[in-house]
Structure formats: C-alpha cells, structure tokens
Symmetry: C2
Subunit: 457 residues, 2 copies
C-alpha cells in the first residue's frame, strides 16, 4: 500500500518530504530571509529609475544602464563580469507628438497620445484625415481601400476584462498595435491611431513596437489613451465626420553599438552547464522602465547576489544577463544565443523575469509536459512563498532564441493584475513597484536557480 | 486500483471532476466574468472614499456610509435590507496633534505623528519628557519606574521583514501600539511614542487602537512615522538626552447611536440557514479607509449582487453585513452575534473581507482540521482564479463573536504584501486599490458563498 500511495502521489506530482528537501527548504528560506531583510534589488531599481531613467536602445541612458549594472555585478563579487557587443536599432522620438480631433473644421478635442515604437514620423507637415473606427484587422480588410484610403484608421478594440491573466487580454488586443499600421498602409490610410493596450481607463497613452510590412510605404502610428478612445467612440456615434490631425517627429536611425551585460557564478560540479537568468535592460522612452523591465534586471542580479550572500555555491554555472533591445528588436537575445551556439556552450536552462516586479505566483515552462510534471515536485517547497504553480507556458522573449539549443526556457510569473496599468506608459515608475514584492521575486528566482542547479530536470 | 487511487486522492484533498463540479465551474466563471466585465465594487468604493471619505464610528461620515450602503443594497434588489442599531464609542481627534524633538532645550526635529485611537489627549499643556527608547514591553518592565517615571517611552521595535505573510510581522509588533501606553503608564511615563506598524520606510504615521489598563491613569499616545523613528534612533546613539514635546487634543465622548447595515438574499432550500458575508463600514479618521475596509464592504455587497446579476438563487440565505465599529470597539460584531443568539438564528458560516482589496490568494478557516480538509476539495475549482489555498486560520474580527454559535468562520485572504503600506494611514485612499484585484476579491467571495450555500461542509 505504501508503495502504491507513493506511486499515485508521484503521478500527481507529489512526493513525501525527504531530508534533501528539508535542506532545500532551509536554503530557499535563507534566500527569502536575505532578500526581504537585506536585499539590494529595490535600491538598485531606484538607481536605475531615478539616476538613469528610461533607457531606450541606443540612448545615452541605455549606455549608463550598461555601465551601472556592470559595476553592480562587480561590486557584488560575481566570478566573471563582462560585456557582449550587440548592434541595436536606434529609434528616436524627436519633438513631442500631438494629435487633436476636429468636427466641421473646428478643433473639439486634444488627444493624449504617444508615437508607437519603430514608427515613422509625419514631420512638421503632419497627417490628417477622416476617422474610420474599426475593432479588428478583419473589419479593416472588409472596409478595404474604398473606405480607408486617405483616412485615419482608429483601432478601438478594448482589452477583454474577463480574462483572469491580464497577458491574455494583451495577446487578444495587441495585433492592432503591432500590425495595425502595416495593414492600414496597404489600403492607403494616412495614419493610424491605436487604443492603448491596458485594462485601465485613464489619460496615459501606452507605446510599444509595431512592424511595417515589406514593400508597403510605412505610415505614422500613435497610441491614444483609453479614456480618449472612449470619448472618440462616443463622439463618432453622433458625428461620423470627425477628422484627426496628428504630428509626430520620430525616426529610425542607423544601428549603433550597445551591449548585453553578463555576470557569472561558476558551477562547483558542472561548470560547463549554464543556467541563464535575466531581464532586459532597455525600456521604452517614457516612464522609467520600472516594472518593464528594470524589475527583471535587478531581480536577476539579486538572485545571484543571494547565492554570494548565503555562501551557497551552485552545482551548475549561473549566468545573469542584462539583455539589450528586447523592446524594439530583440537583438540582445539573438546575439546571446548566436554566441552560445558559436562557443558550443551548453545552456541547460534559462529563466527570464519580464512580467513586472509583482508578488510571486509561480513559473511557466517551455518544455515537454513530462519535464514540467517533474518540476512540479518542487511546488511543495515553493508554495510557502506564494509560488503555487509550475505550468507549461512561455519562457520569455530574450531567452526565446535559445530554444533551438535544447535549453529549457522558464518564465518567472508574478501576479499579472496590475502589469498593464503601467506597461509602456509614463506610469511605469519606481513608485509603482512594491519593495517586498520585488524582493520576493528575486528570492523566487534564486530558489528556482538552486533547484535547477542541484537537481535539474 | 481505481478505488484505491480515489481513496488516496480523497485523503490528499482531491477528487475527480464530476458533472456537478463542471456546473460549479461554470457558475464560478460567471461570477468572475460579471465582476470583471460589469462590476460595481470599484464605483461603490469610489463613492465611499471620495464622496464620503474616512468614517470613524460616531462621525457624520459613518452615518453617511450607513445611508449609502443601505441605498445601494436596495438599488441592487436584495430581498431585504435593514438597519441594526448599535451604540458605538465616539473617539474624537480634535485639533491636529504635533510633536517635536529637542536637544539641550533646542528643537532639532519635527515628527510626523498621529494620535493612537482611543487615546486621551494632552490638551494644550502638552506632555514632554526625556526619550527612553525600548524595543519590547519586556524591556520596559526591566527598566521599571526608576527609568520610566516622568519620561516618554519610545517603542521602536520594527516589523520583521522576513515574514512572508505581512500580518505575521504586524502580529509580532502590535503589542507596542495596543498595550504600550497601558504598560508605560504603570511606571509613571508621561506619554508614549510608538513606531508605526508598517514594513514601509516613509513619513506617514499609522494610527490604530490602544487599550488602557483598568485602574491606571491613562497617558497620551502617538504613532510616529518609520522614517522619523529611524532618525530618532540615530540621534539617540549620539545623544541620550533627547526630549520630546507632544500635544494631542483627542478625547473619548459618550456612546452614540449607529447601525450595522444588513441586506439578504433569501435561500431557496434552507432559508433558515444563514451565511453572513461582510466587512466593516467604519474606518480610522485619516486616509479614506479604502483597503481598510471600504474594500471588504463593497466586495460583500458585490458578492450578493453577482447572484442577482447571474440569476443564481442560493440554497441557503446569504446575508451581507456592513459591520460598524470594528476599529475601536467591535460593537457592531458583538451586537450582530447577540441578536443572532436572541433570535435563535442558525448561522451556518460567515465570511469576512478585512485584509485589503488585493489580488486573491485563498481563504483561511476557523474550524476543525477535518472541516478545512473537506473544504479543500474546492481548491481545484478556485485555483484558476488565484485562490490556491484553503487553510486553517483566523476568520475575522467582526464575525468572531459568532464563534460560540457553532458558525464556521472564514477569512477571505488576498495577497498581503502591500497591506501595511497603507493600513491606518493617510495613504489608504481609493487610488491605492486596483480595480481588477478588488473585483476578483468580490467574485472570490461569491464563489465561496455559492459552494457553502450549495454543498456546505
């Protein structure tokens, strides 16, 4: 009977507590004690947000962030700290964008807008046209050139609030931002205005990347705040002949040199097996990139620092990476994987934190179901810290290029409810991050690094 | 083998999905859909915070909150809505308190302070004395009258940041606030200054209730911000002869009449069995009582509204209660239980939401272990919404007087990390509450009401 219970329990992803697990629980507890009682993540984030600020790829601030995190890793005594060269795109916003609505030639409403990342500018001449409100790319296609040409497409499909995980609402809406301009350009639109990607109803526009289609002349694209999107919708019910005038000055400049920042703790048993942990150092050029992804950066550094602080030497090599250019090119992640392949490095696993510095909920794992099921034996050790779930799911953008190298990709999953309130907006500032939530995330990642390093899959 | 697996699984708190559970999952999903997509909790909280504001027992605002929630329950179409008379203490702060530190007769620092709830005032004459810093009531006792008499006791034991659940840090520190004045008075202290009950290091003092000891003359008591407490500690290292002058104008007035506000949905099968769900309508007289406990109030109303909205009739009677006077007397909770006993009502279970309007984590249950284990069969239904834990633990202050009537007491447990940032402070305002987190709490409570109502223990 005992064996059968054991078999059944194992099948359900549980096993009895062993003395190894008791040691593990002490180790994990020590990570949380240090992170909460003597952590540096919050102070490091403060520096990144307040002394440096937002740090779009190719900017002076991005370079300052490279230097700052390099120095921090050195000061924390990591075994090796180095830079990895990455050529990055340099998208520049230029003068502040403006947009307003007119009716019968009269201005009736200023809009809270921000140019979308990678978009072309209108220049001083601006763009204007009749507003054509659509709720999907499909609807755009139906309307076709007859309706769209020369006009301004207003994508206004809101987040579906009924999703429990806010990333699912984002996933369902983001095609408007990423492909809206490319699709509208095919039908000769003058420009596009996209409802901001957020659950929140407020005056803050949220930027984010778009992609243009090859062979189609790119058009200007801006995001508008959700509150203004709602107001425009109401106005359009009464008057179909609204126009928008918009002016943006952004441009894409030639690539410039930047860096991934890398720090290592050498493995005591399998130094050749690497477990990467990272976030992305670049951010958009509004707000302070606090949750996205200053949090993931300082947590990754802190996770390795917790090993130093507790005197725990990992069996496998732990490598902390500040990826450059996740937001508008993913060049850092691509170069990192290329170099790994070139150097024939064995990348055992990789963890990314890029869902904000919120309270811990678990990990999502890009691997076969049986690998995930084996990892679920650790839930018992992690649940006391709020990490109740290890589930199949995405790892993260920066580590995704490692997927061809057999690396198990793991996403740190904090609570998602507040993320899109601030994501890519002026509200993504240090003050929106809670010290304890941030610290617990760092300890959560250290705990997973420990389990991966000691036991593996 | 199948039976054995079943037996083992049941022992582990799991059972296979039945069609009843499939129906339950649809019902629970519908609560979350309505709460997130069409909820009223956030708007109701906005009214409570912005149109009424803080609402200490006996105040005009408390009366406005009674009238507002009464009308709201009526407007939502509850079967019965009524008031239950409660006599409440009326503690009044009076003119704004002040405190400052002197060294050698010179003022060196103003302090951010707030009088502790229920405390006596110094009046215009103020109180002053040498600062005696202690870290525990035990240390105070050791020092005794020789050191304490005529002086000002400064309780400065901080929250232990290593606790994962922030309520445990509160539990370990709060004796300084609740009993510090009573104990110091025994040794002839002039007054007490208590470090604020928070993890956060900032300039906001946190109030909260104290109790004086019978037969000992009460002394004035104030809370000081954590940042100021740290500064005073540093100053005291260099100079043991610091003095504090403080002036407070608070007083306890005779009891006044107030009300619990009660709304019911009558049970379709067992109308005589009552399941209570509630929060407390009173708050402290600073901030807006948003998380504490405006959130719990609007969530309780919303939980019943979700039944109306989905057209789901509960098997047992659901009763929503806005308890009056949790903060400084618990009179509402006491009267409610007294009346229940007097009327021989059968109170089957009670749920309280008084831990803030944060993201859902689970429920804590004041019952025998086997009752809790049986309730854990519902975790499978609740986990998709972040409710991963049903555990033995406290129910809540307002419902605690029902414990002699065989009622199972249940606390709704949201994430605790941010609660003490705002608890009893000027920062507990509407803006600190996230719409989705608040709504998910209401749906969580509706889900538990449904399961209790249909299946019970």
């Amino acid at each position: 009977m005992k064996q059968m219970i054991l078999a059944v329990c194992m099948a359900w992803g549980f096993c009895p507590v062993t003395s190894a697990q008791q040691t593990d629980s002490v180790t994990i507890r020590s990570f949380f004690n240090k992170a909460l009682g003597n952590g540096r993540a919050y102070d490091d984030l403060h520096y990144l947000c307040k002394n440096i600020g937002h740090r779009i790829s190719g900017s002076a601030q991005a370079q300052q962030a490279v230097e700052f995190t390099f120095e921090r890793m050195k000061s924390y005594g990591f075994d090796t700290v180095y830079l990895q060269e990455v050529m990055v795109p340099q998208w520049v916003r230029g003068a502040k964008e403006t947009a307003f609505v007119t009716a019968g030639g009269k201005k009736i409403m200023d809009l809270h807008v921000t140019a979308l990342g990678n978009s072309v500018g209108t220049g001083a001449a601006g763009a204007s046209g009749k507003v054509v409100e659509v709720f999907s790319l499909k609807e755009l296609e139906k309307l076709g050139r007859a309706v769209i040409e020369g006009n301004i497409v207003f994508y206004n499909r809101p987040f579906n609030d009924e999703h429990i995980v806010s990333f699912e609402a984002y996933r369902d809406a983001v095609d408007q931002r990423s492909s809206g301009a490319a699709e509208a350009a095919k039908y000769g639109a003058a420009a596009v205005v996209v409802r901001s990607m957020t659950h929140s109803l407020d005056d803050f526009p949220h930027t984010g990347a778009l992609r243009y289609a090859d062979g189609v002349k790119p058009i200007a694209a801006i995001a508008v705040s959700t509150a203004d999107a709602e107001k425009m919708h109401e106005l359009l019910i009464k008057n179909k002949d609204l126009k928008i005038n918009l002016t943006t000055f952004c441009e894409m400049r030639p690539d410039v040199k930047s860096y991934n920042v890398i720090g290592e703790l050498r493995g005591r048993v399998h130094p050749e097996e690497i477990i990467t942990v990272g976030g992305h150092l670049d951010s958009w050029d509004i707000g302070e990139g606090a949750h996205d992804d200053g949090a993931g950066c300082v947590q990754s550094i802190e996770a390795l620092r917790l090993f130093k602080l507790t005197g725990i030497k990992p069996a496998r090599t732990l490598r902390c990476v500040m990826f450059m250019n996740e937001e508008n090119g993913l060049r850092g992640g691509k170069v990192y994987a290329e170099q790994a392949a070139l150097k024939k490095e064995k990348h055992y696993a990789a963890i990314e934190s890029d869902r904000g510095g919120f309270t811990p909920r678990g990990f999502s794992v890009e691997a076969e179901a049986d690998t995930v099921a084996r990892m679920q034996r650790w839930v018992k050790l992690l649940a006391p810290y709020g990490l109740d779930k290890i589930e199949q799911g995405g790892g993260g953008a920066d580590i995704s290029p490692l997927n061809t190298q057999g690396t198990v990709l793991i996403g740190y999953v904090p609570d998602s409810q507040r993320y899109f309130d601030v994501h890519h907006a002026a509200t993504d500032v240090f003050e929106s991050v809670n010290k304890r939530e941030l610290a617990m995330g760092a300890a959560s990642m250290a705990a997973m690094l420990w389990l991966l390093s000691e036991y593996g899959f």
